[in-house]
Each structure stands twice: as C-alpha cells, then as structure tokens.
C-alpha cells in the first residue's frame, strides 16, 4: 500500500466522522485541526475507525502521529503493509 492510498483511507474516515467538512483541498503538511473543525473526540473516532475498518491499532502515545495527512501516511503506511 502506498502513502497516497493511506492518505485516502484517512480522508475517507474524516468524511465519515466530520461530514460537514470539505476535505477536497487538504494540505498534507499542515495539521488537520488547522484545516478542519476537528476536536479530540474526532481524533478518537479516527483511531476507532482505523481499528474497526482496517484492524490498525494506534496506541495512545502515538496519537500525535495523526496530526497531519503526511504524518498519518508516514506512521500508518508501514502498519498497513505489515498486516
């Protein structure tokens, strides 16, 4: 799985949990919270959907790795490829 595919998976999850947000022009390097109206509960939703939909576990200590699309891709791609 490529980093771009992982980014799309994260965007798809965001579209589910924050359906009022426009995710079409998200910049990879900028924090998601600076571009979207996301709160801490929403990030927990992202963690839950990664677990439910893809069997990916994100330990609490690693939550900061989900800050931006780029950091999500760097952190999650190896996990997807290890499955």
């Amino acid at each position: 799985m490529t980093e771009d595919q992982v980014k799309q998976i994260v965007i798809d999850i965001i579209n589910e949990i924050a359906p009022d947000e426009d995710t079409s022009g998200l910049k990879g390097e900028i924090a998601l919270r600076e571009q979207l109206d996301l709160d801490s509960m929403d990030f927990l939703d992202i963690v839950m959907e990664l677990r439910k939909q893809h069997g990916i576990e994100v330990p609490e200590a690693d939550y900061p790795q989900l800050a931006s699309l780029d950091s999500c891709a760097s952190y999650l791609t190896p996990k997807f490829n290890e499955k």
């Binding site: 924050a18 359906p19 009022d20 509960m41 927990l44 839950m48 439910k52």
Partner: protein
C-alpha cells in the same frame, strides 16, 4: 405567598402526525393517526409512532452523528419553541435561560446499539465507542439543547417515567417563580422507539399493542384494546413570568394555573385510581378552581386493558358532577410518546382555546362499558361553547402521577 403567574408564549414539537402545531392539530381534528409499522431489532415489525421532522434544520451532520435522537428531537423542538415565542434570542442573557426536559428513560438506545456493535467484534470492548458516556448521561437531551443554542443557564432532564412531560413543565414553573431563570424551555422528549428493550419489556408484560390495521393499534377505551404503541416525539414550550411576557408584548398561548405530582406508593407498574383522583383533585385545588371549571380532561390512557379502566374510575369520581367537562385522548392518534407524552398531548389540546373544539379519541369501534365516561369525545371532534381550562393527566411506572392545568389567557 403570592406566586408569579407563569404563561406559555411559545411551542415547538414533533409528533408522529405533525411537525408543527398547525399540522398536528389539523390531523387531530381530521382523525389522522400517525402510527406505522417499524422494524425493531430482534422483534420484527411492530407498530410505532415515528417522527419525520427535518433534523438538519438546526443541526450539522456531525452533531447528528455524535448526538442522540432524543437530543435531536429536543433541539428541533426548542428552536421551534423560541421562534414561535417571537423572542429576540440573540439579545437574551443566555445565563438566565433554563432548560428542563422530561424523559421516561435515557441511555437504553445508545447502550443497546453499542452492545450490538461489539457483538460484531466478538464482544471486544476496545470497539465500544468513546461517545457512549456523553450520549447516555441522563441530562443528554437537555444538555444537547444548551450546546446547540449556546444557553449557559441551568439544564437537566427530569426522569419521571411517562409523567415526565408534565414534570418538565412543572419544574419550569417552579424555577421561574423562584426567579432562578427568566425564560424556560421545558417539556418532554422520547427516542424510545429505537430501543427494542422497551418493546420487549411491554411484550413480556402483555402490554404491547397490535392490530391488523396498524393505524388502529393504539385504541384507548376500545373494548378490544390490547396494549401500548411506543412512539418517539417531543414538545418544548417557552415559559415566562406573565409580567415579562406582557412587557415584551408576547402572544400568550395559555397560563399554567395549577399542578400536582404524587405517588401511588403501591406497585411498580399497576396504576392506582385512588391516588390518581387525589392527584387531579390536588391540582384543581392548586389552581384555585372547581372540577366544574375544567372543560377538557386529556387522559393519560395508554390503551392497556387495565390502565384505561383505572383512569376512567378516577376521572368519574373527580368529575362526577361536571356535565360540561369533556374527556379525550391523544395517544389514540400518536401512540405513547413516553417522556414526551404529557407535553405533546397538552400541545394537541391548546388550540381548543381558539377553536372551541375538543379533539376526539379515535379508534373506538366498540366502547368498553367500563370506560364509558359520559362526556368522552369519541371518533369525531366536538364543538363546544367555550374551552377555557384544560387538565392534562400523565402517569408513569413506579406510581408517579401528574396533573397539569392550563387556562386560556384572558388578562
């Protein structure tokens, strides 16, 4: 002690047969029921009262995803109540608004959904949502109103079984009189059709209603009645002290002149007509009127074989010498909206102050002789000379009784 007079200046609602008071009233006068079949988890098709209000009118899609159905019903009804009151909401001191919402139960829906959810993951609790606790805390529906509307005054729900709609209004009257708040948004809500447990509980109790023609499933006082139709819905009222309402030139829909809540202290589920009669009599005394002054008694009757008879006994006793007191029932149209019932059923009768028509109780094909009150308005609306006082009964499990009395405002 001289109490402030408390008046109703606004009303918002969603009912299985109407999302505005105009639509709801029209259907009550035209005999249009709102009960339909619904798929209930584990139980198949069951009669239920389902609302179809536009939830996105006042909530974002994310709010709808995170919040509860009870919260959504409460938010819709509260916004409509504020709009109907003609309040300049942005200019109000939000810390002086109180939110008091009655519920029969809360949290069953959300808990059942999560248990079902984790059943798909071999009951691994890592899949249990972090939204569970804010969704299931008992203050949820009232709290969702405050978050959505930016209200910083007090909020809580009133757990009073199926007397809760009246109890929410009574709480608001008391808080306005204590001057804890200047405006109250109060009433009741129900999301109970989303929990199979309520249906299954009534079924096990032998108290779940059904009929081959689903629109007749809820039929209080009919000889063949066989139980309750569970419904969702909500009604929220804007309440103010009379002097405040008059100072801003508000349109006053009614005045709350009396109330009483008491307890049977006798059984978990069986009603107690003696205590019900005591409750009505105490509300009438609290209002400073006589039984003869009551023009409409809106019954609680839920279409159970025993409960309807018991309430009729209590009414027959209290209103024995009242040839001009008419009796009706709203659940025959919308089913039992649980925590919303009292507030929603009162709402359906308020327009009687303007049109002097008593809406009927429908679906009575054969009147049960034990429910044959002399002035029961059956199947067709009744035009009367004048409607000035309505007594609204709502009773609930664990033996909680409530009676609320409203009067047409004439200065």
């Amino acid at each position: 002690m001289e109490h402030s007079r408390i008046v109703i200046t606004g009303l918002g609602l969603t009912s299985p047969n109407g999302n505005t008071i105009e639509e709801y009233r029209k259907n009550l006068l035209n005999g249009v029921a709102g009960v339909q079949l619904m798929e209930v988890r584990y139980m198949g098709q069951q009669p239920a009262g389902i609302c179809d209000f536009d939830a996105k009118k006042y909530q974002t899609r994310k709010e709808l995803r995170v919040g509860t159905r009870a919260g959504s019903i409460a938010i819709y009804s509260a916004h409509e109540a504020v709009a109907s009151a003609g309040l300049k909401f942005d200019a109000l001191d939000k810390s002086r608004i109180g939110v008091y919402i009655g519920t029969t139960e809360h949290g069953n829906v959300e808990t059942e959904n999560e248990v079902y959810n984790i059943s798909k993951f071999d009951y691994d609790t890592r899949y249990w949502t972090h939204h569970h606790n804010p969704r299931t805390v008992a203050n949820n529906p009232a709290g969702e109103i405050t978050i959505n509307m930016g209200i910083t005054g007090p909020h809580y729900t009133i757990g009073a079984a199926c007397a809760a709609g009246n109890a929410g209004l009574i709480q608001a009257v008391q808080m306005l009189r204590l001057r804890e708040v200047d405006v109250a948004l109060a009433g009741g809500v129900s999301e109970s059709i989303q929990t199979f447990g309520i249906f299954a509980g009534f079924k096990s109790q032998g108290a779940l209603g059904f009929h081959a023609d689903v629109s007749k499933a809820s039929r209080p006082f009919d000889k063949s009645r066989n139980g309750i139709v569970v419904s969702e819905g909500g009604a929220v009222y804007t309440l103010e002290r009379l002097e405040d309402a008059q100072a801003r030139g508000a349109n006053i829909l009614a005045e709350i002149i009396g109330y009483r809540i008491n307890s049977d202290a006798s059984d978990y589920v069986l009603p107690n007509p003696e205590r019900q009669a005591e409750c009505m009599r105490a509300a009438i005394a609290n209002a400073g009127i006589a039984p003869q002054d009551v023009d409409i008694v809106n019954t609680h009757a839920t279409s159970t074989p025993q409960g309807d008879i018991q309430e009729c006994k209590a009414i027959a006793e209290v209103f024995a010498d009242c040839p001009n007191t008419y009796v009706n029932n709203t659940k025959s149209f919308i089913g039992h909206a649980m925590g919303a019932a009292g507030a929603l059923e009162l709402a359906g009768n308020l327009p009687s102050f303007d049109d002097n028509i008593v809406h009927p109780t429908i679906n009575v094909d054969e009147l049960d002789p034990e429910c044959a009150l002399p002035n029961l308005v059956i199947n067709e609306p009744r035009k009367v000379d004048a409607v000035k006082v309505i007594l609204n009964n709502s009773f609930g499990m664990l033996g909680i009784n409530s009676a609320l009395i409203v009067r047409k405002f004439e200065g």
